[in-house]
């Protein structure tokens, strides 16, 4: 982990983001600062009035002045209360508004970042950006107005103190730089450790998330205690780091409280002697003491603000980093709508590799005529899924082009492209929502009829109506309260309802039994009519849906042709289908 200082470029960017958001809500921010300044003036005026009460009315023995002067004290107090109310309310508004907006922006951005980004970024990491980092940033907005007022107050009170008594004023004022200096030192001392604590806490979230997500595996192997040990290790880490942090904090924080008190001692001592010496009135002395009291809290807050600022800036810089990560797949400036056509798909000498791996596709050259169905076959890890992902531009090829109806997919607007291409993922992901919402996910305006039709086509209707709440049944997280085949059929229905020009089925019936699959196949024949379909499958039965089979091997198209042609002429094809020779298959 690298130490972050206020001077770092990324931290500076974080600060800039903080200020940009502040500028957006400048009306509330200014209101809050104005209220804070009002509060400050009243706060300063309070002791001054008290001094007047004491000097004029009490020491000066003017009983008649007592009532009006105390009335003034009350009026000032009322003003002060108003100041607090406005300051707090508007500061909250700014801070929550900024937090909410930033969170929306983060979410929006996460939704736009492409597969390759999500491949390498853990969920917990992104969660942290939108939660704990933003809380950190919000704190700054909440504290900014009062800090501005406080800094002004230091000037005003400092001036007053010096005006009251230059010598004592100078002594009392020494507390201010001392405190601010201490705040800076403090920030430097604890910052690194507090980051480390923060990281350990984030680790806890990650470990628990994994432990809970993998609970079936953990239970299956009786490794619960190993998972507990993992948590225990993180808990130990949190404990050790927190104690290290508190060692430092406990050394410094009491000093923040003591510096103002030390100034009070100085006031008592030097001021007392000066009053005795006649250089100062008793009223001055009281006012002095009061001002010292007034300054205690602001001094502490200001110290705290400057201690938190670097942390917030670092948090903001992480947010900026995320927001500045440009999605690597965006609309080209000259991107147009889907070209007319029936969905001819062509791969022209396509090469692709994942960022940290060897080439997956080397040189794929393939034409899938419009409206036809092609099955893609290949061994595990041969790149079938990868190939399919290039069509809706989940990734862009490193070499060559993918064309739909003669147009490079990179020249088509993403939204249009993806609306025309529906993918059924090999691992169905269901949202924890109703079955209806899951099916209608890609077509939120779809009516009940359409949902049912899609479900029927996917052979899902029958089991859905048998569920306790039918289409309104809420499925558990990731759809895990359904059986494997049920999940897949919902995912299939979700694609059907999109009515796409190109349909990609990535091993979409792998968990469905043969009988149901045969039914789905019959339904698919109707669905596929008039659209281009790419079927990735391992079962011969599914291959039967396709007019042509493409064999992918070592990043290339090894052969294309009908199933029978390939069987007859391509040994590798027979190998992948585990077919040595006909007739042997029944042998045990």
């Amino acid at each position: 982990m690298t130490t972050r200082r206020l001077g770092d470029a990324s931290v500076r960017r974080g600060l800039r983001l903080i200020f940009r958001m502040l500028f957006r809500y400048r009306r509330e921010a200014v209101a809050s600062v104005l209220f804070a300044l009002g509060w400050m003036v009243m706060t300063v005026a309070g002791p001054f009035l008290q001094k007047v009460v004491i000097d004029r009315a009490i020491v000066g023995e003017r009983r008649d002045l007592l009532a009006p002067l105390v009335g003034a004290v009350l009026a000032v107090g009322a003003g002060r209360a108003l100041g607090i109310a406005g300051r707090r309310y508007f500061a909250f508004r700014v801070s929550y508004r900024a937090e909410t907006d930033l969170r929306n922006r983060i979410f929006e951005h996460i939704q736009r970042l492409t597969f390759s980004y999500h491949d390498r970024t853990a969920t917990g990491e992104l969660m942290a950006r939108a939660s704990s980092d933003l809380s950190q940033v919000r704190l700054i907005y909440a504290m900014l107005p009062i800090t501005v007022a406080n800094v002004v107050m230091f000037g005003v009170v400092g001036g007053l103190l010096v005006a009251l008594d230059p010598v004592l004023g100078a002594v009392a004022l020494a507390a201010i730089p001392a405190l601010l200096g201490l705040a800076v030192v403090y920030a430097r001392v604890v910052l690194e450790t507090s980051f480390e604590v923060q990281e350990r806490l984030a680790d806890m979230a990650t470990v628990v998330q994994e432990g809970v997500g993998g609970i079936r595996v953990t239970k299956a192997f009786g490794r619960e205690m190993a998972e507990v040990a993992r948590v225990e290790a993180v808990a130990d880490g949190i404990f050790a780091k927190t104690m290290q942090l508190i060692g430092k904090r406990a050394a410094y924080v009491p000093v923040f409280e003591l510096i103002p008190s030390a100034a009070a001692v100085a006031v008592l001592w030097i001021g007392g002697l000066r009053v005795i010496g006649g250089a100062m009135t008793l009223g001055d002395f009281v006012a002095f003491s009061q001002y010292m009291v007034i300054l205690v809290f602001p001094l502490r807050i200001t110290g705290f603000f400057f201690a938190e600022l670097p942390r917030a800036a670092a948090a903001a810089s992480r947010v900026v980093e995320l927001l500045r990560t440009a999605p690597d797949i965006v609309d080209a400036p000259d991107a147009g709508p889907m070209p007319p056509g029936n969905g001819e798909v062509r791969f022209c000498h396509v090469g692709f590799s994942y960022p940290d791996g060897p080439p997956v596709l080397e040189d794929v050259d393939l034409r899938i005529p419009a409206g036809s169905a092609v099955a893609v076959v290949g061994s595990t890890g041969s790149g079938k899924t990868t190939l399919a992902y290039l069509v809706p531009r989940f990734y862009d090829p490193s070499r060559g082009q993918v064309l739909i109806d003669g147009v490079d997919v990179r020249r088509i607007r993403l939204d249009d492209l993806r609306s025309a291409v529906a993918v059924v993922f090999e691992e169905p992901f269901l949202f924890s929502a109703t079955i209806r919402d899951n099916i209608a996910f890609g077509a939120p305006d779809a009516g009940d009829d359409q949902v049912r039709l899609a479900a029927r086509l996917a052979q899902a209707h029958d089991f859905i109506v048998e569920l306790p709440d039918g289409y309104d049944t809420v499925v558990g997280e990731r759809g895990l309260s359904l059986s494997g085949g049920q999940r897949q059929r919902i995912a299939l229905a979700r694609a059907m309802i999109r009515d796409p020009r190109v349909l990609i089925l990535d091993d979409a019936t792998s968990s469905v039994d043969a009988v149901t699959e045969a039914e789905i196949r019959d339904a698919l024949r109707t669905v596929m009519a008039g659209r281009t379909t790419i079927i990735i499958a391992h079962r011969v039965s599914t291959l039967a849906l396709a007019e042509k089979v493409v064999l992918i091997d070592e990043g290339r198209v090894l052969a294309t042709g009908t199933h029978r042609e390939l069987l007859a002429s391509v040994p590798r094809y027979r190998e992948v289908l585990a077919e040595v020779s006909p007739g042997e298959e029944v042998a045990p």
Partner: protein, 603 residues
């Protein structure tokens, strides 16, 4: 505050009992806790003595022009500051020590309990909720311990001490100030009512925000594939906005209450100035007392404000405690027997379902009156339509769930009587929903037996025929497979899951569609490997493929939670029942030469 508070947040019932229970868990920490208490008391007393010293300095020093007293008072004050520093520091440290020790324990206790809960519980509970139990709820307690506990203590002490100080200084004035207390209490009660509601809202909404966030991230690929980004953003925006509203509601309560308290303080000051000032003029009150009174007054209200600040933290801590204890109070539906029996070695692996009925919801049985005997060392294939209950059978076989009726026996012993360690050691399941941990391949393969040597891990890979593939990876066994194995293809993930199960070296293995995403070639290779590895072991293999059924010693056909047919492949084919039909569908489906159209195999 990583996951903040999550899920519904009910009113905390019986806070006192909760606190007592929480305290009981940390009984052994009482000595450091007492130390912290003592240090905090001393620090507060030292702080409160300050104005008294100032009063002496003013009355007996400044007013009578005695510089010696002023100096002595100043030195005394300074000495008090030193004491205050030492004790504050000690108190801070000790409180954190106690708090963190306690939390460390609580984390482990809660997680251990969590890991012991049954899968039914995990199925019903969102993972985010559980994560938040272990993170934000714990952090709510930390925050309270760090910022609240001491604050409550010193604030209460300060209020009491200052109260005493006020009365000692001048009882008459003190009574006047106390007359403000009912107002303060009333204001605080009103505030409490609003704040409670507002903060509960806040806690609830943040849960929704984080839930939406999490699903938005884990489902992002589907969202993009179906171009639902705008819809998702809008939905998230709405949830997020409600969270904002809830916060603003809380902000309104705070922005009203604190100025009100401040105004009361001013009123107190005005009363003291007016009445006290008059009495100084009358000569019934010393000037120093008046000043001390004014100083005290500040200190009287400050801690009350502090307490209101802390109130929110305390409320959050209580809510967290009640949720944590709620979790601890959950008894697992699947528990180890009081006197568990180990499986007698050597384990033969005979599995018997004896009249088993089970439903995830007890009212809706998924498996009904299931009878089945799996002979030791045999391989049984379970086939049947989707949703027939095959996976459920698998889960019952490894005791993820207990049947509502009937028994499952391994080597003649009811699974419920077998010790967990023994059971898990000898029985392995590859669940249908594969899951790889974010970590290296080695970590994942050796998951069941971390003590495995690299050589052994390679051996497993070799047998399974994946050693070449592993060798082709950039970092071989050290390759990080990423969250849920996202770095691998689906078939590769299944291979790793299989390797993990085989590495566990079980006597009974249950494969629930463990090869569904594999190409036939790899599958055949896996089958061969299983033939070697499973020699003499019992295997239950669930699959939708003809070959699996063919290779099994026995085939069991399930339908709607029942075994409808049971026998060898040949018997079932001959029987002309459900399986015969299934086989003909299969034949069509899998006959390579049939081109999908024809019937049985043939050229």
């Amino acid at each position: 505050m990583m996951y903040a508070r999550y899920g519904a947040d009910d009113r905390v019932e019986r806070p006192l009992r909760l606190i007592r229970r929480a305290v009981a868990l940390g009984r052994d920490l009482r000595w450091p806790a007492t130390g912290a208490l003592v240090a905090a008391v001393v620090a507060t007393v030292a702080r409160l003595a300050g104005p008294l010293v100032v009063r002496t300095g003013v009355d007996e020093g400044i007013r009578v022009a005695d510089p010696g007293v002023v100096t002595r008072a100043s030195i005394l004050y300074l000495a008090l500051l030193v004491v205050q520093y030492g004790t504050s520091r000690a108190a801070m440290y000790a409180v954190t020590l106690v708090g963190e020790r306690y939390l460390r324990r609580l984390r482990v206790v809660v997680y251990r309990h969590l890991m012991g809960l049954d899968l039914g519980f995990f199925g019903r509970t969102k993972s985010g909720v559980l994560v938040s139990r272990m993170t934000s709820d714990m952090e709510a307690l930390t925050t309270f311990a760090d910022e609240g506990a001491i604050s409550v203590l010193t604030s209460v002490l300060t209020v009491l001490g200052v109260g005493v100080g006020l009365f000692v200084t001048d009882p008459g004035l003190a009574w006047l100030v106390m007359a403000l207390l009912p107002l303060l209490v009333a204001a605080s009660l009103v505030f409490r009512r609003y704040a409670d509601r507002a903060y509960r809202q806040v806690r609830e909404q943040i849960g929704l925000v984080l839930g939406a966030l999490q699903e938005g991230i884990s489902g992002v690929r589907v969202v993009q594939a179906y171009t639902q980004e705008p819809g998702q953003q809008e939905r998230f925006g709405r949830v997020n906005e409600r969270y904002y509203e809830a916060n603003l509601q809380a902000a309104r309560a705070i922005s009203t209450y604190f100025p009100a308290v401040d105004l009361l303080r001013t009123v107190g000051t005005a009363i003291v100035l007016f009445v006290g000032g008059g009495r100084v003029l009358d000569g019934t009150l010393t000037f120093g007392s008046l000043i001390a009174f004014l100083l005290y007054l500040n200190w009287f209200f400050e801690p009350i404000v502090q307490l209101s600040n802390v109130y929110n933290l305390a409320q959050g801590a209580l809510a967290a405690l009640s949720k944590l204890f709620g979790l601890l109070d959950r008894t697992p539906a699947v528990v180890e027997a009081a006197d568990p029996r180990p499986l007698p070695e050597p384990v033969r692996g005979e599995l018997v379902f004896d009249g088993v009925t089970f439903g995830y919801d007890p009212d809706v049985p998924v498996v009904r009156g299931l009878d089945l005997r799996v002979a030791p060392g045999s391989r049984v294939a379970v086939v049947g339509e989707t949703g027939a209950g095959k996976s459920t059978l698998a889960k019952l076989a490894v005791r993820f769930y207990d049947p509502q009726e009937g028994r499952v026996l391994l080597d003649g012993i009811d699974l419920r009587d077998i010790g967990f360690v023994s059971l898990r050691r000898h029985v392995a399941l590859v669940p249908q929903e594969g899951f790889l941990f974010d970590g290296s391949l080695r970590y994942n393969i050796a998951y069941a037996r971390p003590e495995m040597s690299d050589e052994e891990v390679w051996e497993v890979c070799r047998t399974l025929g994946i050693d070449d593939w592993v060798r082709s990876l950039p970092e071989r066994l050290d390759t990080d497979v990423r969250e849920r194995g996202g770095r691998l293809s689906s078939g590769e993930r299944q291979l790793v899951s299989l390797a993990r199960a085989l590495a566990a070296d079980p006597a009974l293995i249950v494969l629930d569609e463990a090869t569904s995403n594999l190409d036939p070639e790899s599958e055949a290779q896996v089958e061969r490997a299983l033939g070697v590895l499973l020699e003499g072991r019992t295997a239950i293999v669930i699959a939708h493929r003809l070959r699996t059924a063919e290779r099994a010693d026995r085939v069991v056909v399930m339908d709607a939670g029942r075994v409808v047919e049971d026998g060898t492949f040949a018997e079932l084919v001959a029987a002309g029942g459900a399986f015969t039909h299934l086989r003909s569908v299969w034949e069509q489906a899998e006959s390579v030469w049939g081109d999908g159209g024809g019937g049985s195999s043939g050229r």
